[in-house]
Structure formats: C-alpha cells, structure tokens
C-alpha cells in the first residue's frame, strides 16, 4: 500500500506503525510519531494499523528557538 510519510508518498509492506519504523530505518526510541495529525504514543505503535493513504509523521529532536 501507499502512505504519506513525512510529506512523501512511499510504498510499504508494513501493516503497523511499529513495522513501518523498522522498515524505513528509523531509530524507534529517538522519534515521536503522529498518524493523520494525532499523536501515537510509543506503546501504541504496535497496535496501530496502517491503511492506504494515511499520513504519518515521524519527528526527531532538532534545533529550535
């Protein structure tokens, strides 16, 4: 299926948010995740199923003012 990951359309075999992070090479403990604009806690990634067209944001600590 295709999803929107950090603003880019990607094809994925992952069925859950946790699988997606592994598949796309993210360091799971260092990132925060949101699905369709809602925060998904680390503990919920395993249980969060992906569907065609979903918008996933994977964010990391960065510089800020």
């Amino acid at each position: 299926m295709r999803i929107d990951l950090n603003g880019e359309i990607v094809r994925t075999q992952a069925r859950t948010l946790a699988d997606l992070l592994i598949e796309q090479g993210f360091e799971a403990p260092c990132v925060a995740t949101a699905l369709n604009g809602d925060f998904i806690a680390r503990s919920m990634r395993e249980a969060t199923r992906l569907d065609e067209g979903m918008k996933v944001e994977v964010l990391s600590p960065m510089q800020g003012g």
């Binding site: 950090n6 925060a32 949101a34 925060f39 964010l59 600590p61 510089q63 800020g64």
Partner: protein
C-alpha cells in the same frame, strides 16, 4: 521560579541557526543558560550531531511548538515532544500571522487548556494583552511569555509601557520576554523593569561571535536584574544638581 524549578541564570537560549554544533555548544556554555529550547522536526542531516549536544549540555530542555498555526497542531506537537524529550515543559506557540509571527491568542488559550489538563507545564508565547494573560492563568499556566517584538526581528521592546503594566498586573507570576530581543541593552531594559527572564535565539546565533554575544547577554541580564533589585531612582523632567549647593563659594 518556573513550575517549582529554581534557576541561577535568567537567560533561556534558543538552539537554532548557529553556524555549527560546536559554536552552539560554546554559546550555551558562555551564556550561563540553564534552559535551552528545542523543537521537533522531520529528521535532517544534522540530527544525530544535535542529539549529542543535548546530552552534553546538561541544560534543562524546553521543547517548543514552533510553526504550529492551530491549537490541534500545537497539542499534537506538545504530546510528541513530551514523549521524545521526557519533560512536561512545553513552550506553547500558536502562530496567528505568517509575517509578524504574532501569537493567535484564541488558539493559544484553547491549546493551553487542553495541555494543562493533561499535566503539561505550559510556557505560553503571548502578547502583552492582560486579558489573554488572565485566560492563560485560568487555563492553568504558571508562567507567561510576552513578546518583546516579532520573532527574529531584533527590535527590542516594542511596547515597554505595555510590559510595565503587565508586570504590575501579574505580580508574582514569572514573566519571560520571549522574542524580538536584538541587543544586550534591550535585555537589560526588560530586566530593569522587573521582568523575570529573557528567552532569545537569533541575536546570539547570528552574531559575528555567538559565544562572545552569549556571554554579553548573560552579563546584561544579570546587571539588569541587580539594578531592579537595587531599586532605580525615579525619573525627573528637570535637572537637579547632585553636588551640594551648601558651602558654595561666592566668586562672582
């Protein structure tokens, strides 16, 4: 001073726009800041280097919701930040206008209500408006962060009288001037007025020598605070000779 945390330094330093991670680290050290602001972004090339700095700096982290234009975006960002940074502190920014980066007070209060109810310790980036400040306190905020001038503009205190009124109105509430400070003298001015702390970024990051400028700001803020505590003399419209007239010779 802030949510039960007492600090020595009254300067909070932003971490963006420095020429290199090494310069950022030097600036943090030189400033004496104990709080630095951070953000959440899609990971770029410098992500790993920045995480190393965070672990090296020993500063308390204040994550922001910079770039959010709605209460919903800001609330989601705050929840993400709490998990990643391991702190309930959040610098709540909800931007209302793209050119001025002026806060949207209505969305700000809405987001503050949600976040305070969820146990966040919210540092709201607001204007000098007293009623907005009241609503933020009602929502559960224990700190207010009025702007000095538009973010990154370096204009200093655009409305010093408004900030003075805010200081008088919110006695006992920590007030942090956030944004728009361009020079140490402007930071000192705010401190002399009895504001509690300064949050700045661009003025240090874009200086020719960021570490030296960070040190200058640290000293100006300390000087301004000491002046406030010492009690400034009242301003007069007319001159008043400081040398005594008594004992003056008649030489004419």
């Amino acid at each position: 001073m802030f949510y039960g945390v007492d600090l020595t330094s009254r300067l909070m330093l932003g971490t963006a726009q420095y020429p290199s991670p090494a310069v950022l680290l030097e600036a943090i050290e030189a400033s004496g800041a104990e709080i630095i602001t951070v953000s959440l972004r899609r990971e770029g090339a410098a992500g790993a280097a920045f995480r190393n700095i965070l672990s090296e700096s020993r500063c308390r982290l204040l994550p922001n919701t910079a770039g959010c234009h709605t209460a919903r975006e800001a609330v989601t960002t705050a929840r993400m930040a709490r998990e990643v940074f391991g702190t309930s502190w959040i610098k709540l920014e909800v931007i209302g206008h793209a050119d001025t980066l002026q806060p949207d007070p209505f969305a700000l209060v809405e987001a503050a209500r949600v976040l305070c109810a969820e146990g966040f310790e919210v540092f709201p980036y607001t204007t000098e408006d007293l009623i907005v400040g009241e609503k933020l306190l009602e929502a559960g905020c224990k700190v207010l962060m009025p702007w000095g001038a538009p973010i990154g503009s370096g204009q200093g205190l655009r409305n010093p009288e408004g900030l003075r009124t805010m200081r008088a109105h919110f006695a006992g509430i920590p007030l942090v001037v956030d944004a728009g400070i361009g020079a140490p003298s402007q930071a000192a001015q705010a401190m002399e007025m009895g504001l509690d702390a300064i949050l700045l970024n661009t003025a240090v990051a874009k200086a020719v020598d960021p570490a030296a400028m960070a040190r200058a700001f640290g000293r100006a803020i300390q000087a301004g605070r000491e002046a406030f505590e010492a009690g400034l003399m009242p301003r007069r419209d007319m001159a008043c000779a400081s040398t005594p007239v008594f004992g003056l010779a008649e030489l004419a």
